[in-house]
């Protein structure tokens, strides 16, 4: 199929022509057959009328009424004809007699002879209907066939568009490869080329963006590390040289650099776990074991803040997922809980299965999050209360965004709620088993 338009126009015209002409031919045949039957009937009537002339007293039904008048005397009448003249005027007229409506023809060939012939109107109508119906019937019957064939042809013609849209619909979010179709019609060809060009440009743009964010974060991390070391050294030198007054400024500077390092780290992680870029390597893993490892990683900080942490529920919970991503998810939740919970607070992790899903609940007795903020905390760089968070902890505003991305990657979901304790936050993560 080179052109949809040409295909549709030629095939539809051919179909219409073929069906209409065949229907016309059939109408012609049937009408001719009916007309022939009609003429045959007339011949029969004529023959019967002539026969009656020679068989006086015959009461054979002709379907016609016939009168012959000579010198105003009725010399012949058929059984259906009355004894009075059926018509008084010459030519065609309509009259009622014998309980019927008749079409009457009166002819006076000579001054002394008058012939009057009548036919019931109903019979005439019936004969005309038969001929007309015979000619219309094939045309009407051909309509459903035409409709079916049009549907088939249009479906066939539009099949490349259907295949094209099906390919587009089946594409995953990170699949920017070109769409390939066989036998592309001219009308679709340009659209296909433009779409593929757009995909190629989008793929380039995504790749540039990904590389740029990753490069920037990577390039910033090295000088920041150097800055941190130098700050540490400078702080020690200042202490040794007795410049204790500047200690507060130095601590503030160190906190700022640490926050920037954490932010860059989170940007890099966010970049890695972005569903548009992330290539998940799913494997069977034990979520309980993974939680234990994360708790062990965070334990030094938790101990430093004299917080209590406990891991409840299942001791083994096997599911399919990406180990790196899920570890990051749990780490962000435990890290957030530890960071935003006051010293001496409590953190609780609980693992369970529910309705065919693995459920991880992380809750603390920290300040929590107001319910009206639940929907916003998953936005990137959004921090509850801005930089004036009541915990005083400086965060990047990316932790929960990463958690949501990872949950989405695993076709799971994250819900926030109030902790079972008086205050505090409860984060529930559901992942398919």
């Amino acid at each position: 199929m080179r052109s949809l338009r040409r295909y549709l126009v030629t095939v539809l015209i051919a179909l219409f022509t073929l069906i209409s002409f065949l229907a016309a031919l059939q109408s012609y045949r049937q009408s001719a057959s009916r007309a022939e039957a009609l003429f045959d009937q007339d011949l029969q009537v004529l023959a019967s009328s002539l026969a009656q002339q020679y068989q006086a007293g015959s009461q054979q039904e002709l379907g016609l009424a016939l009168q012959v008048w000579q010198n105003n005397q009725l010399v012949y009448r058929s059984p259906l004809a009355p004894e009075t003249p059926m018509a008084e005027t010459e030519g065609f007229t309509e009259h009622n007699f014998a309980g019927k409506r008749w079409r009457v023809f009166r002819q006076t060939p000579t001054a002394l002879l008058t012939v009057i012939v009548a036919q019931p109107l109903q019979q005439r109508q019936q004969l005309a209907d038969e001929v007309i119906t015979a000619s219309i019937y094939p045309v009407v019957l051909s309509l459903p066939l035409q409709a079916l064939l049009i549907w088939l042809v249009v479906s066939k013609a539009l099949s490349p568009i259907k295949r094209f849209s099906a390919q587009l619909a089946s594409k995953k979010a990170n699949d920017l490869t070109a769409v390939e179709l066989e036998q592309v019609p001219a009308e679709l060809d340009q659209m296909l080329k433009t779409t593929n060009l757009l995909f190629a440009r989008l793929a380039d743009a995504f790749e540039r963006e990904k590389r740029f964010a990753s490069d920037v974060a990577h390039e910033l991390r090295t000088p920041l590390s150097v800055l941190q070391v130098n700050l540490h050294n400078a702080s020690q030198q200042w202490q040794q040289s007795g410049m204790a007054d500047s200690q507060d400024s130095m601590l503030a500077l160190q906190a700022g650099v640490e926050r920037m390092s954490a932010l860059i780290e989170q940007i890099m992680l966010l970049n890695r776990t972005n569903p548009e870029h992330f290539q998940a390597r799913t494997e069977q893993l034990d979520l309980a074991g993974l939680c234990r490892q994360v708790v062990a990683d965070w334990y030094p900080q938790i101990e430093k803040k004299q917080q209590q942490i406990e891991l409840l529920g299942l001791e083994h919970l096997s599911l399919k997922g990406d180990a790196f991503a899920l570890r990051l998810l749990v780490s962000n939740l435990v890290g957030n809980a530890s960071k935003y919970t006051q010293a001496g607070g409590a953190i609780q992790l609980e693992l369970m299965t529910q309705a065919g899903k693995a459920v991880l609940v992380v809750q603390d007795n920290g300040p929590g999050i107001p319910p009206e903020e639940y929907s916003r905390v998953f936005d990137r760089f959004y921090r509850v209360g801005g930089d004036r968070h009541q915990s005083g902890t400086l965060g990047s505003g990316l932790g929960l965004a990463i958690v949501r991305d990872i949950a989405n990657l695993h076709q799971g979901q994250v819900r926030l709620g109030a902790a079972d304790s008086v205050s505090g936050l409860k984060v529930t993560v559901e992942l398919p088993l």
Partner: protein, 247 residues
């Protein structure tokens, strides 16, 4: 009479249109050249035969026309065989095969239109009959063309078989004319299907145009048909490669 004109045009045009559509699918990429190659010899032969129709029909004890037609039908079949086997001259040979068929069917149509008895016929009935015949024939050819385009793409064997059937149909027509002229022994009748599927019905015309349907074939025709079909199928065994290289 209208119906006679329609049937006459269908009988003469349908085989030609079907062969043309089938060969256009084959030479799709160079269809303009194909039409040109077909038209020129077709017009030449048509002019030559129709202008000398009377003289030709009087030759060979009055069987001149039948023998000429059977020669042209056989030539059409032979050209199709060679075209299917030889990739180099396929287009020229196919076009000549079509020209042979047109010269036969075109002559018959011209003869019908200019018959002295047509003088008594209502010209509007003749024109309407021509329009109906040409319309039905060309519509079938268009649909046939698109059907074969699909078949050629996905089921080359079906295309080969249909081309072979169309080719051997010409041989069947030649054999019927030769039997009619007593140049070919007829032998016993193979079957009788006139009651179920008359040759003069629409479907009968279509099958006759497509595969040389005969309601009462004889043994010699059956043998010729099988041999011809086998030969054309064998000649077209590399048709797929030939078509690919042509495109």
């Amino acid at each position: 009479m209208l119906i006679n004109t329609v049937l006459m045009f269908l009988r003469e045009l349908l085989p030609l249109f079907l062969l043309l559509a089938t060969l256009l699918v084959w030479h799709r990429s160079q269809w303009r050249r194909f039409i040109l190659l077909f038209s020129l010899p077709a017009i030449l032969m048509l002019t030559l035969f129709s202008s000398n129709m009377l003289w030709i029909s009087e030759q060979l004890d009055g069987f001149g026309l039948e023998l000429l037609y059977s020669l042209l039908y056989t030539g059409c079949f032979a050209l199709l065989c060679v075209a299917a086997a030889k990739r180099n001259a396929a287009m020229v040979l196919s076009a000549f095969a079509c020209a042979c068929l047109l010269s036969i069917n075109g002559s018959n149509l011209l003869l019908y239109i200019w018959l002295p008895t047509q003088g008594n016929t209502d010209p509007s009935a003749l024109l309407l009959g021509m329009a109906l015949g040409v319309g039905i024939g060309s519509s079938i050819a268009v649909l046939w063309y698109y059907l074969l385009t699909e078949l050629k793409q996905w089921r080359m064997l079906s295309y080969r078989l249909l081309l072979s059937l169309l080719g051997v149909r010409q041989l069947m027509m030649a054999s019927a004319l030769l039997i009619q002229s007593d140049w070919l022994p007829s032998g016993p009748r193979l079957w009788q299907t006139e009651q179920w599927l008359p040759e003069q019905s629409e479907l009968g015309f279509f099958l006759q145009a497509l595969l040389g349907y005969e309601a009462t074939p004889v043994l010699s025709q059956g043998l010729i048909y099988i041999a011809g079909l086998g030969l054309l199928l064998w000649c077209s065994r590399n048709l797929k490669n030939n078509i690919r290289s042509a495109q």
